[in-house]
Amino acid sequence: MVNTAPLLAARGVSKAFFGNPVLRNVSIALLPGRVHALLGENGAGKSTLINMLSGALRPDGGTIEVDGKAVSHMTPPEARQAGIAVVQQELSLTANLSIAENIGLGAYPRRFGLVDYSSLASQAREACALVGLDEPLSTPVGELSLGRRQMVEIAKALYRKPRVLILDEPTSSLSATETRILTDLLERLRSQGTAILYISHRLNEVMALCQHVTVLKDGSVTADRPLEGTDAAGLVRLMVGRDPGDLFPKWQASPSRTTAASVRNFSAGLVRDVDLDIKTGEVLGIGGLVGQGQEDLLLGLYGAIPAKAVSSEVNAYQALPGGVPKANALGLAYVPADRKREGLHLIHPIITNLMLPAFARLPALKPRNRGSERDLARKLAAQLGIKGDLNRPAQALSGGNQQKVALAKWMPHDPLVLLLNDPTRGVDVETKREIYIMLRQLAKDGKAVVLMSSDTPELVHLCDRVAVVREGRIAAMLEHDALSEENIVAAAVGADKPKVAA
């Protein structure tokens, strides 16, 4: 296996954006029949490297080689022709088109100059079978859950019968079953001689699946070696350049708990007749399978979607907020899961993003004070470790830093209840750790933190209580002593003898 020639390789490539070097002299070689892991914190340059390997970006220096031959100016269509397929972290599907149409998009089989739908259907069905998609092929992708869409994205890459398959965090929105299907599939493709580049923040997956690893730190390669003989802690050390320590801060019961918000027979969106008490001084987890109404629960409490309740009390106010400005005034803050679409204004400067909640509640025509805005933004950036010029647009930031901005903008307003929707999705280990420490600290400072998460270990190690949502209802409320991954999963799928309390 060592002697086979790489199908796709980068040799000493560099890239800079706006004068900031993102990659320095990076080399990577993808061999047939090998799953190659690419690790690195957010902002380490992984996405940039993928974009260069797939022709979306051109390196400033160095070369990209396909089958050992250097190609200058490779375009995305040329990359596709060379058999390189990428499964992006950001889904590239069109919501209104069907599963089959999405899979074939850009490479429809033709017959007499028209789309040959029957052959499209048969080829798409083949690709779907590989990833275990059994929905009718004519289903619009917009009707699928995030995890299923991710599977369509993977099927789309397979439809092109790639020789090189690049997967950018494919499992971040997949359920355990779907992850297993994907793992088996990659194992099979590998044995057929496909070269696979696998990017994930889930180290146990990497350990189980990959044979070789390249680690990026701040745009340079810090390791390029077989995975054999390394352990997860060693990988983290390579990524962050120091000992990982415990990912989760030590859990401590908070001494004082008072009710910050409580609802009875609360309904919003998918959520039906839920009773919930949110207390200060604790991290309340919201778990369950994807799409059971967890998000509607948060949005309903936040007043962003219509909600009703038989009785409710939010920060001593005897009703639901009913609207976001009112919710903010009552001390509620919400951090969405989809940073790019719901959390941030990507085209606006970081400083404007940080100041937006302030702009939303200041008197409309009170003159702004740019000096104090700058001071406050600098303070927030320093507090949360957001690096770089605050006048850059937010889209210039890496995912982890964007998440910090989405969190930081609420800090000046000292919210009593923080509603967090999957705040660590697609965030690197180091930033995750920072966020965990911050959440525990917030709880310790007497805030109520509501953490909705698709990451079960997070719920187990960080939360004081976890509400498991199933089909729009709270299927179980697990107290800290009863928290374990098994209990949460059992309650989520309804196969439980859960220790129901409260």
């Binding site: 976001v324 679409r341 719901e342 941030l344 204004h345 085209i347 937006l356």
Partner: protein, 317 residues
């Protein structure tokens, strides 16, 4: 930012570039055409630009917030035709009639905003329907005839030149200062940019999106009404169709000035030279001495050409 970097930013900004284009066109046209560069002629151009600039002030707010107001032309006409009707000899200054008309046009804008914010009608449909409604109403009320005005304040606004500067231009300067202040120095302005760039994220950040949306369409109605009062003063009489040229002109001025038609980015500081550029082009076409049909074709093509040269923007993700 160092002072040098700041100067470079200004030199590269769209408002400044648009201003450069205006200056270049003026210099070339003055050399090529007798009388074009005369002070009186240039002053006249700016006076004409004031009307476009006023309409485009509200349009800039709406476009920055990610919408569009297609009813501005009809609102200009409502003001120009309606003012003579509400003018009464009981008020010798004529101020009350102006205030009534401005209240009316603002109310029309607020209705646009209500439709967009609460009924979730697309701005293009809402304002186009409003324009059609108003045109019908105007035909019923005013018919085909022109109405003259006997209103001292309106006359002064259209014809007086205190210190050699047309009153309309002074009005434009005052409104420009106000608009720039609201847009760039108040939380309200920041909210508008946020709504234009990402309405969902703005809403989740606590921005009162419906109230802000209603307010900006109200502002658009107000500035279009002001423009209608000014054009009535300059013209002496109002008639149905007097506002028609200002629809395309206002949108073109906004976009020529570098404001993104997709919303979220831009400034009225660009719309100001954009308005002057538009009037200059119109004047040059008149000099060519073509028939009205050809003039219209030329005007449309030139705007399209200018936008292709300067107004194209990179696709957003």
């Amino acid at each position: 930012m160092s002072p040098k970097a700041r100067i470079m930013t200004i030199l590269r900004s769209r408002p400044f570039l648009t201003l450069l284009v205006v200056a270049a066109v003026w210099i070339v046209a003055s050399l090529a055409t007798r009388g074009f560069g005369a002070f009186g002629h240039l002053r006249y151009l700016v006076e004409l630009a004031a009307v476009i600039g006023l309409v485009a002030a509200g349009q800039t707010f709406v476009v920055v917030a990610g919408g569009i107001d297609l009813s501005v032309a009809a609102i200009v006409t409502v003001a120009a035709v309606g003012l003579p009707l509400v003018s009464s000899s009981a008020d010798p200054t004529g101020l009350s009639a102006i205030l009534i008309v401005l209240a009316m046009t603002t109310a029309i804008g607020l209705v646009n905003g209500l439709g967009v914010a609460y009924l979730k009608v697309h701005p293009m449909i809402m304002t186009l329907a409003m324009a059609t409604f108003l045109q019908g109403l105007l035909i019923i009320i005013a018919g085909g005839s022109a109405v003259s005005v006997q209103n001292p304040l309106v006359g002064w606004l259209g014809n007086a030149r205190p210190a050699g500067i047309p009153a309309g231009v002074l009005l434009w300067v005052v409104i420009s200062a106000l608009v720039l202040f609201v847009m760039h120095a108040t939380p309200f302005g920041a909210r508008i940019f946020a709504i234009g760039a990402n309405p969902r994220a703005a809403e989740l950040s606590g921005v009162p999106v419906p109230a802000t949306t209603i307010a900006i369409y109200g502002i658009s109605g107000l500035t279009a009404g002001l423009a209608g009062v000014l054009v009535l003063g300059m013209n002496g009489q109002g008639y149905v169709g007097i506002g028609d040229p200002y629809l395309l002109a206002s949108i073109a001025a906004v976009v020529l000035g570098g404001t993104s038609i997709l919303g979220g980015l831009g400034t009225y500081a660009g719309t100001i030279p954009g308005s002057i550029l538009l009037v200059t082009i119109t004047a040059l076409i008149t000099v060519v001495n073509a028939s009205p049909g050809w003039r219209s074709i030329l005007f449309g093509s030139l705007i399209l050409g200018l936008l292709l040269l300067s107004g194209r923007e990179a696709a957003r993700r």
